[in-house]
């Protein structure tokens, strides 16, 4: 018998940690991984609430999120590879040519 709010709290904590990771880390790949962490936290919230309301829609939605996340990771990594090819680095601090 675990209260719903615990699950949601956990989801919130994981989400913040993912956000923190996006902000702090300079390695593009780690940033990407933090994004996946955030998506994961959201999925957890979805499933918990789906169980709470006793419907399957949450789970289906998680299914879709995971599929799209997979596609997104593929494209994102391809981008990172392409950037690495031109800049020889994946340090996002080096990608500052939009400096105003």
């Amino acid at each position: 018998m675990i209260p719903l709010s615990y699950y949601l709290a956990l989801s919130a904590v994981l989400f913040s940690m993912g956000a923190l990771g996006v902000l702090i880390k300079r390695n593009a790949l780690i940033i990407f991984m933090s994004i996946e962490l955030m998506l994961n936290a959201a999925n957890l919230a979805f499933v918990a609430l789906s169980r709470h309301f006793n419907i399957l829609d949450g789970q289906i939605f998680v299914f879709f999120v995971i599929a799209v996340a997979a596609a997104e990771v593929a494209v994102g990594l391809a981008l990172i590879v392409a950037i690495f090819r031109s800049k020889q680095t994946i340090d996002v601090d080096q990608l500052n040519s939009l400096k105003g």
Binding site: A19, V22, L23, I24, R26, V92, D93, L95, N96, S97, L98, K99, G100
Partner: protein, 700 residues
């Protein structure tokens, strides 16, 4: 003005045409004169004047047919302010018609003469384009003079008075950029100015008289004023004396009496027809007409009458003395005119209005004749000068300064110009007052009247008559007799018909003019004629004593002049014999008794000093240099440069404008630091936004 209105046989309603005809003439010449030929221009002007004469004759006839009853012909409403009501009415009575006939008659003859004269003069002065202008001004003069004599109120008279003064100015200064010899100079325009300014002083007198009259009589119309004359003269004689003496100032200005006569000799700068018409026959007689017209006022104040008569008499003698010492043929005639005007003014002053008007008419005839003949002489000398210079081939070239009017250059002209000579003789004898020429009768009547009532005047006038005969004789001997004293005189030519024919008409009038008013019972036509207007006139018969004395004196004077000038005719370069006899007295007469010099020293130079002071000190140094430049311009410059430009514009407004720009720049510089190109900081901004919104929603 329609012919149908004259079925009654009377032509009074034609009277506006005496003004309209000359005005139409002047407009035609003004607008089209440059395109018409000289003959056309002259003909238009002469016909205009001639038609005015025809109308005058018709008016005269109408008056005669209605037994001299005066007619007032209303024309238009003119001034109506409060109690002042002056309509533009024409007065057709015997006095005004007399003037109309003289002005238009003599005027037309002079217009015809002027065609020939000006034809030669514009060629001597080398400006043919000015020909039409002359006739425009001449017609304007006729129109103005007609307004003067035909008005029914003093104000209308004054309009004409001023108008003829203007025309006098325009015509004296006709050759405004030259002097009488044709050299570029201010001389002619100065003479015109002198005439206008001196006349203006006279006009001031006239205006004062008119204002006084309006104040006390309540009207300026002749009828209304004269009715009240006796009553007001009895109650407040000072008023009438004031009016009459103010009018005398006007008369002194217009009719060249002491002290305002000084313009008339200078006015000889104008072409000779101008001298004849304006300064001999018509304009200068306006003053005499004024006094005659104001007879009802003058007869009520004997003191004023005495003053007028004395002014006239003294002027007559004074001017005659100056005429004796003049060398210019026209100047002699000018001073003679002043002297004869003195006779006329004395006559009307004494109350002898008929005598004065009679002399006015005869003087118009023979003075115009004399002036026009003098013009013929001058032209003859000019022609002679040209001929001599062309085939003489000696030192006197065209460049020599030659004065064709100087009598010392003349001599023996009766052989060269016989027609002019005989005509001049007629004029001279008439002026000298030799029986039976016109001048004898008219001058005699004045002397007779003076001898009866004003003895002092009589002696003055008699002396003047003596001198008149003397200087005319002197002139005739010097000009026509003896031997020519200059090549120009030797080669002088007679003038053409256009010049001599009008002179012949005038000569005829000078001979026969006396008939107008012979002092014998049954022949006092003129007196009767004027009686209709003037009321009762004293008609004097023929006095053998007076007539005899004056004739003897005239003959004696001519004899004296023959003694001095003809027994040993003057040679070229010789001094005037009278100088030996009179010495310094002659110099004074020659120099016009230094009156002009006196006026300059006392009035004109002082005026120039005041004007200089006002101009240089007050206007330039004070007003312009200090007030305008320092105060106004300086303050303005200070305000504009130091205050508005520096402080307000650059300091304030520019500061604000630039400041705003700076502010924007600084703001943008600061904000630009947000765009550091680092993804992490952009992500931070996003998270910040999320946290903020969430916090806001929670705290709500």
């Amino acid at each position: 003005m329609m012919l149908s209105e004259t079925t009654s046989g009377l032509f009074f309603n034609l009277v506006p045409w005496i003004i309209f005809f000359p005005v139409i003439g002047l407009l035609v010449n003004l607008l089209f004169g440059a395109r018409m030929g000289e003959k056309a221009v002259g003909s238009v002007a002469s016909v205009a004047s001639g038609l005015a004469f025809v109308v005058s004759v018709l008016l005269g006839y109408s008056l005669w047919a209605s037994h001299g009853e005066a007619q007032v012909v209303p024309f238009a409403e003119w001034i109506k302010i409060g109690t002042l009501d002056i309509p533009w009415n024409f007065r057709v009575d015997t006095l005004s018609v007399t003037m109309m006939l003289v002005v238009s008659g003599v005027g037309t003859l002079i217009h015809v003469y002027a065609i020939g004269y000006m034809h030669e003069d514009v060629r001597f002065k080398k400006d043919k384009k000015r020909f039409p202008r002359f006739f425009v001004f001449m017609n304007l003069f006729i129109a103005m003079m007609m307004i003067l004599v035909s008005g029914d109120s003093y104000l209308m008279l004054f309009v004409g008075w001023e108008g003829v003064g203007l025309c006098s100015f325009l015509l004296i200064g006709f050759w405004y950029d030259m002097d009488t010899l044709g050299r570029p100079s201010w001389a002619n325009s100065n003479a015109a100015k002198k005439a206008f300014i001196t006349n203006r002083i006279g006009d001031l007198g006239f205006i004062l008289a008119a204002m006084t009259m309006f104040w006390y009589f309540g009207s300026l119309q002749f009828g209304e004023v004269f009715v009240q004359a006796e009553q007001i003269a009895a109650a407040q004689p000072v008023v009438v004396i004031a009016i009459t003496l103010f009018m005398l100032i006007g008369v002194a200005g217009k009719s060249a009496q002491i002290p305002l006569y000084v313009w008339l000799p200078d006015a000889m700068a104008g072409p000779t027809p101008v001298s004849a018409l304006i300064h001999a026959a018509t304009m200068v007689t306006a003053g005499v007409y004024l006094v005659a017209r104001s007879a009802p006022l003058y007869v009520t104040v004997h003191g004023a009458q005495y003053i007028v008569a004395m002014v006239g008499a003294v002027t007559a003698l004074f001017a005659a003395t100056i005429a004796v010492g003049q060398y210019d043929i026209k100047k002699v005639l000018a001073y003679s005119t002043i002297s004869q005007l003195g006779f006329m003014v004395a006559a009307v002053g004494m109350g002898a209005f008929v005598a004065g008007m009679f002399h006015l008419v005869t003087h118009a005839f023979f003075k115009a004749l004399l002036f026009l003949s003098a013009g013929s002489v001058i032209l003859g000398l000019e022609r002679g000068h040209h001929r001599a210079a062309h085939h003489g081939g000696h030192a006197d070239h065209h460049e020599e300064v030659f004065d064709p009017g100087d009598m010392r250059n003349m001599g023996g002209l009766r052989k060269q110009m016989p027609v002019t000579f005989w005509l001049y003789m007629v004029g001279t004898l008439a002026l000298a007052g030799i029986f039976p020429f016109a001048g004898f009768w008219s001058k005699d009547e004045i002397l007779l009247d003076a001898s009866k009532h004003y003895p002092a005047v009589y002696w003055l006038l008699t002396a003047a008559a003596f001198l008149t005969a003397f200087y005319m004789g002197r002139q005739v001997w010097m000009v026509f007799f003896g031997k020519p004293r200059h090549a120009a005189a030797a080669h002088a030519e007679e003038s053409g018909k256009l010049i001599t024919v009008p002179l012949m008409v005038l000569a005829g009038l000078s001979i026969l003019g006396g008939v107008l008013n012979l002092p014998f019972k049954g022949f006092h036509n003129f007196a009767h004629w004027l009686e209709y207007t003037l009321g009762h006139v004293e008609v004097l018969g023929f006095d053998l004593v007076v007539a005899g004395v004056s004739t003897l004196l005239a003959l004696a004077a001519i004899g004296l002049s023959w003694l001095l000038y003809m027994r040993n005719p003057l040679r070229a370069g010789q001094e005037d014999p009278l100088k030996k006899v009179l010495g310094p007295l002659f110099t004074a007469m020659e120099r016009k008794w230094f009156v002009d010099e006196g006026y300059w020293a006392v009035f004109v130079d002082r005026y120039v000093d005041i004007a200089r002071f006002l101009a240089d000190v007050i206007d330039w140094r004070f007003w312009h240099d200090w007030f305008h430049d320092k105060v106004i311009a300086g303050t303005y410059n200070f305000l504009s440069r130091k205050v508005l430009d520096l402080r307000v514009d650059q300091g304030g407004i520019d500061a604000i404008a630039n400041g705003l720009g700076e502010l924007t720049k600084q703001a943008s510089v600061s904000l630009r630091r947000l765009q550091n190109g680092f993804v992490r900081s952009y992500a931070l901004a996003v998270l910040f936004g999320v946290v903020a919104i969430l916090g806001y929603l929670l705290l709500k």
